[in-house]
Symmetry: C2
Subunit: 218 residues, 2 copies
DNA sequence: TGTAATGTTTACCAGTCGGTCAAATTATCC
DNA sequence: GGATAATTTGACCGACTGGTAAACATTACA
């Protein structure tokens, strides 16, 4: 009868586990490059090395694949921000947040591009996630930063725009990789570029946010 | 016999001028959102308010439209960087570069997204421009910054990554507009967000690059 | 080992894609 | 006003799109 469709049955078989993994892996490849509209099931099927109807056996529609991919990636993608610790030393927290985000741009560029494509195209599939969980998390961490600034531990600044600028500078190395490589040219475009970027960004943000001494309150 | 195709004839008629303008305007709307692969001629035709064969009378192919659009936008897009003046005061130059880039993100978000889409998808249509004219311009301006740093007018830093970070932070407000709005929420997502962003970014970059006193040479 | 559930494939569908063609319409210029 | 060139359109093409149906193959399990 075959009603599997990956969710109906309580326990997923080993083969389901494997195939779904294989499909999402291929889908990530394709969606990350062409976005949702620009990607086709046939492309994904080819990359995954299976027939199109076979893909559609595990994911009923193209949207279901995309949805599943986004859901899985979104959680891990926000991990670095979640790790942002209110109790920690501000300078260290910012420094390691930058470093972690940069590592993700280096190690998971496809995931970064998947989101970039989605948001760039108006986030038609993840608007709720942005306005809900994402906003809440950012609000929480922005408050932490605001308190640090108020206490003079870092410079007074808009915490939201600080977060945006860390996102954009780090993800730039994944999303605009082609451009970065083109501009740096043969010589400087090697893997060392991430180390250079890390050094520069840490310098920029740490110096840029140096607290103004203890500073009086109110 | 009508061989116009917009380029064969030396002098372009008023009507050609107008229609091509109209088409490129519509194409910008569509390409900026969906990227090249994700956009269709029919969509563009509908936005432009003309029939599909009529579009194809002025631009032989979808690629020709895209090409034409990119060529036209690329020049103006790099204008702010070109204006970067080696003779000027470093702090002022950086400040006004940021401001100009941010104004472009605010006033020409579609153009920003057009490029973002293109680069994100591997820049299949503009690789040459990136490796050629763009790289040359950036090399030139990076040298200016390097000299400033060497003279102690600004902090020692990698000029390429400085430029990347200005690009990414400013364009973020165009390319990731939906996300920015979602995170800032109803209250703070108004037009004032560009002023807030400008203030933050100027603070970040100016403080982040404060020169270390005159500093000895060699 | 049999059989029922699971997994895979071939053939196919209706709608959309980029693009063509010839006929019809409109502007231009004498 | 008429000839000529420029513009516009409806009808159409083959290739591709997301997705389906049903036959076939494989696995799990009694």
């Amino acid at each position: 009868m075959a009603i599997p469709r990956a969710a109906k049955t309580q326990r997923r078989t080993r083969i389901q586990e494997e195939k779904e993994e294989q499909i999402l892996e291929a889908a990530l490849d394709v969606f990350a490059v062409s976005g949702f509209r620009g990607s086709t099931i046939d492309q994904i099927a080819e990359v995954a090395g299976m027939s199109k109807p076979n893909l559609l056996y595990y994911f009923r529609t193209k949207e279901a694949m995309h949805r599943s991919l986004i859901d899985r990636v979104l959680f891990t993608w926000l991990e670095p921000l979640r790790a942002f610790d209110a109790e920690g030393n501000p300078e260290n927290e910012i420094r390691s947040y930058i470093r972690r985000k940069l590592e993700m741009a280096r190690d998971f560029p496809r995931e970064s591009r998947l989101f970039a494509n989605e948001v760039l195209q108006g986030a038609p599939h993840i608007e709720d996630e942005l306005k809900g969980p994402l906003k809440e998390l950012v609000d929480e961490k922005a408050e932490v930063i605001r308190v640090w600034a108020k206490a003079g531990k870092i410079a007074k600044c808009d915490p939201y725009h600080l977060i945006f600028s860390i996102w954009s500078t780090t993800q730039h190395y994944a999303d605009f990789d082609v451009q970065v490589r083109a501009v740096l040219g043969q010589g400087k475009a090697g893997e060392g570029r991430f180390e250079d970027a890390a050094r520069f960004l840490e310098q920029l943000f740490i110096n840029g946010l140096k607290g103004h001494a203890p500073q009086s309150e109110s």
